[in-house]
Amino acid sequence: MDDLSNLFCQPTRRDLMRWGVACGAAGALCHIDIQHAFPQDVAGGLDLAGPRLKGVVRHPAMFWEKLDENRVKCVLCPRECQVADVERGYCGVRENQVGEYQTLVYGALCSANVDPIEKKPLFHYQPGTTAFSIATAGCNIECKFCQNWQISQFRPEQVESIPVDPERLIAACKARQSPTIAYTYSEPVIFYEYMHDTAALAREHGIGSVMISNGYIQEEPLRRLCRHLTGVKIDFKAFTERFYAESCAGELKPVLKTLEVLKDIGIWLELVVLIVPTLNDSPDEIRRMGEWVIEHLGPDVPMHFTRFHPTYRVTNLPRTPVSTLERCRQIALDAGVHYVYAGNVAMHPSENTYCHNCQHELIRRLGFRVRFNRITDGKCPNCGTNIPGVWSQEQALAFKPRT
């Protein structure tokens, strides 16, 4: 693992073509209009198109407290917005109506696609399978480099949506033979109620649920949700409060708390760090982050260092150099993290999975495609070492929170 170039495998012509098709499809699916997504890309032969939502749906919100003068306090996420009558919280999708807090996005899907699970990215969660991926409008932070800002930073009325209740979603998921529903793209914490209900029902139907989140959630709702989830990926934005404050309108501390709670719960967890040049790429910061992960989460939580592309409000910085990702990866490996990946750099050898014990190549990836997966019964076929992850649907659905 010392010299990545030695591990680079020249792709075959067939590989390149497959990869091109996969990337093209995935790129097109990254964020597509729901009116195209549901009837064609998602629903297939099912008649799921239906009328577009006019206005918003209203559904009782969970995790809030009454205050005086018809105000409410939201305790779903660390912001703890105090919201006056007729006003909304920071997320823009939860509204106070005469002292009752409501979610405006229950089942209001603005994005829906069948993605490779690798696109989340979850590399140790049933590789090569698909995830029925959905989102509503809204987010509880504002990353100035958000890749999906057209939905995450808008309110529900401003984004075209389709009403899809949990039953209908599960039926569509089954029709597409996806073993997993991924709550993703924007920020699933803000459509908590829908995710919670859908994940609970999905389990009854033998479907797993993974949350792709920024980790900005309070402990009680997180624990209750994890009774129904089967995996979590957290965007670990940086390891400084300054970055969270200036680039994300958030705080680091609550995210660290979330990670510790997830560790305590015992649910499958992977971390993604989007490396933005000059803002969160210092070797010292990455080293401290890696050490924190080892100390608080252990060596088996995979980390993905992914490539930034200029977008939204950060258009004055270049794409992350591949060498920076390689350096971050090496720092995390040196800190003791067993599985560290570079992301958004197609065909880079560090997208592959190597046994942390014997360095045997276990999974080769080309973009979001899995070319081969040699893991057998959760073990390395070369040395027999247990490889951390969720390798089957049975294993996924068997998960129960440890605490």
Binding site: N70, A84, D85, E157, Q158, A249, Y312
Partner: protein, 331 residues
């Protein structure tokens, strides 16, 4: 005949323009004359009759009150002259109302439309607007998306070319998509807020009203909405077009806003009118605090929600927030 100004007068005019009025300098001089160059003028017009009954029964009275306020604001000899000092027949005018919670009264907007027509602005070039059709309708405004008469629509009325710009605009700390009504369909803005309390910003007045011009106001309520409110109105889409504030104080609310709360309703029966939008907000906030004191409530600042954005706007040179330096006229 063009009027010859002395060097001192010229500097005073430039200073007044720099102090925050949205009028071009030439229009400013024409509007205020020499007596008001050095002081921002705000007119507080009241009529006891407006505190009683339904406002829809007082349309003529509101129109007369507003015309009188405009005359005092501009020193014009009559109402027509007052409106003509501020508006031209070629202007495309957007009347930004507030329809969230305690809303702008349609009767007040009717009076403004009447004034604009006196200035020669065709009805078809006047747009009454806010965020949503549904909220406008709920507030009693009659939606009109035809090409005839005064237009009335929300930014969400995509079918007539509104909606939000697709590009994010940065201004200070905000990054927002602005309503296309503000960016493309009008040249001149009139802010018509309601005199009301706001649980975070302290007061929801003329400047805060333009949170309804951006797609993501929910992101900008921390720190008493400061400096975000000022960042919004500092953007050229607002700053360069805003010509007049008519704060609807016919039915006000001194606590627990911005939603309606009958326990804190306040029939002030008046209008607060000014071209210096910082000064207009400062006077309105002072009225709120005065009423809170009468009712035994803490001042906004002592209640943990000072209307900081008003002083921030003044510090940025957008207008006058010092009540001692504002020419406040009661009508």
């Amino acid at each position: 005949m063009p009027r010859q100004n002395s060097r001192r007068q010229f500097l005073a005019q430039v200073g007044a323009a720099g102090a925050g009025t949205m009028l071009p300098t030439s229009r400013l001089v024409a509007a205020f004359g020499e007596a008001t160059k050095s002081k921002s003028r705000v007119v507080v017009a009241r009529d006891e009759a407006l505190t009683k009954g339904r406002l829809s029964e007082h349309r003529d009275l509101i129109t007369k009150l507003l015309d009188a306020a405009m005359q005092r604001l501009t020193n014009a000899p009559d109402a027509v002259g007052a409106w003509r000092q501020l508006f031209d027949p070629g202007d495309r005018v957007g009347i930004k109302v507030n329809t969230l919670g305690l809303y702008t009264q349609p009767a007040v907007v009717d009076a403004i439309v009447n004034g604009l027509k006196q200035a020669g602005v065709p009805a078809e070039k006047i747009i009454i607007w806010d965020r949503f059709d549904v909220e406008l309708a709920r507030a009693g405004f009659k939606l009109n998306k035809s090409s005839q008469g005064v237009q009335c629509r929300g930014t969400d009325a995509e079918q007539v070319g509104s909606g939000y710009e697709r590009q994010i605009e940065s201004s200070g700390r905000i990054g927002s998509c602005f309503s296309r009504i503000a960016t493309r369909q009008i040249d001149v803005l009139i802010s018509v807020p309601v005199l009301k309390d706001h649980n975070l910003a302290g007061a929801s007045l003329g400047m805060k009203n333009f949170y309804g011009a951006i797609h993501n106001p929910n992101k900008y309520h921390d720190h008493n909405c400061d400096p975000y409110i000022v960042d919004v109105v500092s953007h050229r889409y607002i700053r360069d077009k805003w010509r007049l504030t008519v704060c609807d104080a016919t039915r006000a609310q001194y606590n627990a806003g911005p939603g309606r709360h009958p326990g804190f309703a306040w029939s002030f029966g008046g209008l607060i009118v000014g071209t210096d939008y910082v000064a207009a907000d400062a006077v309105a906030a002072d009225l709120l605090d005065t009423q809170r004191k009468v009712k035994g409530l803490k001042a906004l600042a002592d209640d943990g929600r000072p209307a900081k954005h008003i002083s921030t706007a003044a510090a940025r040179g957008l207008g006058e927030a010092d009540l001692g330096k504002i020419d406040r006229i009661e009508v």
